[in-house]
């Protein structure tokens, strides 16, 4: 090794280099991009919860307030936004449920159930909950 030519270097002392992390570090790798999109769809989940809260709130304030809320829901830009939100919610739910077998270990008679069973149970519960909501809507 030659003589040090970097004035910032002291011989026999480590001089570590740390990479500066670019802001868009998650764009270079499909798995990271998918992860960030999954995280971002949490905003859609939060938004959907807020809409539900406002819906209940306007219902509680009387028929006029509720009719006003429903007419807001029917505005074209709102409908467009909610189609996008629905897509984000489905993406969030599917990616979330697909991860369930990695986190949950279920046992039956001392034996570990395969991941597919855990997955089916989760999708089954989702289906039942969706059917219950649909039944409530149709019954109304």
């Amino acid at each position: 090794m030659g003589e040090p030519v970097n004035p910032g270097y002291t011989e026999h002392h480590a001089k570590w280099h740390r990479r500066r992390i670019p802001i868009f570090w998650w764009l270079g790798n499909a798995a990271y991009t998918k992860f960030i999109v999954r995280e971002l769809t949490s905003l859609a989940v939060g938004y959907a919860a807020l809409v539900l809260v406002f819906q209940v709130w306007s219902l509680e304030r009387g028929p006029e307030s509720y009719a006003h809320f429903v007419s807001w829901l029917q505005l074209r830009p709102v409908v467009t936004l909610h189609v996008v939100v629905l897509g984000a919610l489905v993406y969030h739910s599917v990616t979330w449920l697909n991860l369930a077998p990695r986190a949950l270990v279920l046992r039956l008679a001392g034996r570990r159930l395969p991941g597919a069973v855990v997955l089916l149970l989760h999708y089954g519960a989702w289906l039942v909950a969706s059917a219950a909501v649909l039944w409530l809507l149709l019954a109304a």
Binding site: M1, G8, Y9, A14, W26, F35, E39, R102, L104
Partner: protein
């Protein structure tokens, strides 16, 4: 029959430069060569100052992890032919401060690994005359997968959380803590809890999942972390029950 391959290798020689630079080498590679063989060829015949770690050359010691074309791999277990056509870009593992060329400083990992006591902790040992601690195949199956970890740190390199927040104790350390937590002979899970449930423990993990994808030993660190999250949550709720022991 050899094939010329261009390797672009990240160099960092602190006595010469403040920032890493790239250096190209053309190497005539034989079809059976791994990336490590090409690096050894460069070191032996072209530039002896090239620095990198390696030891066993058979995917067991976990020393030769590096980024090849941006992916964390063991260089001794990655065929040159699998990353062609070149140029093949070789960088040090992400997340670790670089000391020289492809050598990262792994002190942080070793310190964190020690902190979770990756050994069997017993409150008291049974007398020798009682023989060894027996285990059923089911009990072995509970932790065996996690015991395959070779401490290669590829999972740290693949984990964006670790690079963004270096205080995170990281995938392999949690998987190895779980390796002992799930061992029927171990009684140390309470002692590991403080570290695993700390702010820099399991809750820092946002389940990117790449740690599992890159693991050369088929350990599932992401799964270990999520399983521990479920266990910790169930324990926390159990502690709230009126009949829970305090």
């Amino acid at each position: 029959m050899t094939q010329p391959v261009i390797f672009e290798i990240q160099r960092y020689r602190p006595e010469i430069e403040d920032e890493p630079t790239w250096e190209s080498f053309e190497v005539s590679c034989r079809p059976e060569w791994m990336i490590l063989d090409a690096l050894n060829h460069i070191k032996d015949y072209v530039d002896g100052t090239l620095s990198y770690r390696w030891a066993c050359r058979m995917g067991v010691c976990g020393s030769c992890g590096m980024l090849v074309n941006g992916k964390p791999v063991l260089s001794c277990a990655t065929y040159v032919t699998s990353v062609l056509p070149g140029p093949v870009r070789v960088e040090p593992l992400r997340g670790f401060p670089v000391i020289r060329d492809l050598v990262g400083d792994i002190t942080d990992f070793v310190r964190k690994l020690e902190s979770v006591k990756p050994w069997i902790v017993r409150e008291s040992e049974q007398p020798l005359e009682e023989g060894e601690y027996l285990q059923t195949p089911e009990e072995l199956g509970e932790y065996k997968q996690y015991s395959m970890c070779i401490n290669c740190m590829l999972c740290y390199s693949a984990c964006p959380i670790y690079e963004l927040d270096p205080d995170f104790i990281g995938p392999a350390v949690i998987a190895l803590a779980q390796r002992y937590n799930l061992d029927s002979r171990d009684e140390g899970s309470e002692e590991r809890k403080d570290i695993l449930l700390s702010q820099d423990g399991i809750w820092s993990c946002t389940f990117v999942g790449e740690c599992t994808t890159v693991c050369p030993a088929n350990v599932d660190p992401a799964g270990a972390i999520q399983r521990y999250k479920v266990t910790a949550t169930v324990d926390a709720f159990k502690a709230l029950l009126p009949w829970a022991s305090r």
